[in-house]
Symmetry: C2
Subunit: 118 residues, 2 copies
């Protein structure tokens, strides 16, 4: 049944929905869900570009600055930021009537890898 050319050291007896990762240990269902959420949150042009702009702004950037750059409605920008926040890619702080967004270390690491491997 198996067509593996070499022996299969790992993953043949994997419990369904637990997944094997590169160095031989297992990934919990929760970790998979977290990663997939992270990746799909970033896998959209509006959100990706929003995060790029946020990561480029040293002290955070507010929604009103993002809106003209992204070329979609204010509502769409707000929804994009909300999703980025929900998936742990940005932090936000309130200052007066503005909300400033900053990128999390995870987000910065991901952008760095994308740049380094493109």
């Amino acid at each position: 049944m198996t067509a593996q050319s070499t022996d299969e050291a790992c993953c043949t007896d994997t419990h369904r929905s637990d997944v094997c990762c590169a160095d031989g240990h297992f990934l919990s269902e929760e970790a998979v869900a977290t990663d997939v959420e992270t990746l799909s949150a970033l896998g959209n042009e509006t959100r990706y570009e929003a995060l790029r702009l946020i990561a480029a702004a040293e002290d955070g950037i507010c929604v009103c600055d993002l809106e003209p750059e992204l070329g979609v409605s204010q509502s769409a920008v707000s929804q994009a930021l909300s999703r980025l926040f929900g998936s742990g890619l940005v932090e936000r702080r309130k200052e007066g009537r503005w909300r400033y967004y900053t990128a999390t270390p995870r987000a910065e690491a991901l952008l760095r890898v994308l740049d380094e491997t493109r």
Copy 2:
């Protein structure tokens, strides 16, 4: 109009759809498209788990080994691998009647960062 708390060293005069990245230079439209394609390709449970399995198998793994692990139809597995290949996350080689898939350096780097920052 702008509500930036500090001066904005970068990105105020961004050409539409060219995006500013973390260290101050610009990202081409093409680079954005590439990254978004990469991220959305991985932002799906079936494809993410397929890539994890591929990355865990030293010498590549064939579709027939992936199918029982992923719990979707053979057609869905084939479509998943096709998309991963198309977005540069896996390579494939033909050997007899099997096709072996391996992860690209970009894919491995992304998985590593996800593991390190989760």
